[in-house]
Symmetry: C2
Subunit: 97 residues, 2 copies
Amino acid sequence: MSNEQLDLLREQLDELNMDLLNLINKRGELVKKVAKSKPNQGPDKKYDPVREHQMLEKIKNQNEGPFQDATIIHLFKEIFKAGLELQEKDYHKEMLV
Amino acid sequence: MSNEQLDLLREQLDELNMDLLNLINKRGELVKKVAKSKPNQGPDKKYDPVREHQMLEKIKNQNEGPFQDATIIHLFKEIFKAGLELQEKDYHKEMLV
């Protein structure tokens, strides 16, 4: 493969990274909205293991690779955790108002 | 917020999860192509810290939140690591042929 072809692949990878970034942040906004829809709950109440399990099952069922289910689950758990931290930050901000 | 509105937000979240799943797997395919473009290199040669740093800088520069840069960097490092593991798996498969 020529260097030109490699450069092209890397450009595509950079574009894909940006799409991923936008989607992850869009997910963050959505998660904040969900949290706001459950008022009067402490930060520990934001974590809903049943709902998380449901989401992970749906994701696993749709996974066609190349990443294995275990890898996909690991990545999504990290994404969920980040979302949860975002909700907790918002909760503490509210408490300070 | 009504239960109906919460259900709608959760539907949107499920759709967004699917978009993320597709994008992560698309990235996996692309990363495999990049790896194939560098033949005769051992698995340890697949990791390119300079290129990783470049990608992370571009991502950080484009990050508009709500997630903080540190969170975004953490998530992308996990995604990169998964891609690297995919390349290593492919390399070992080639060695067995």
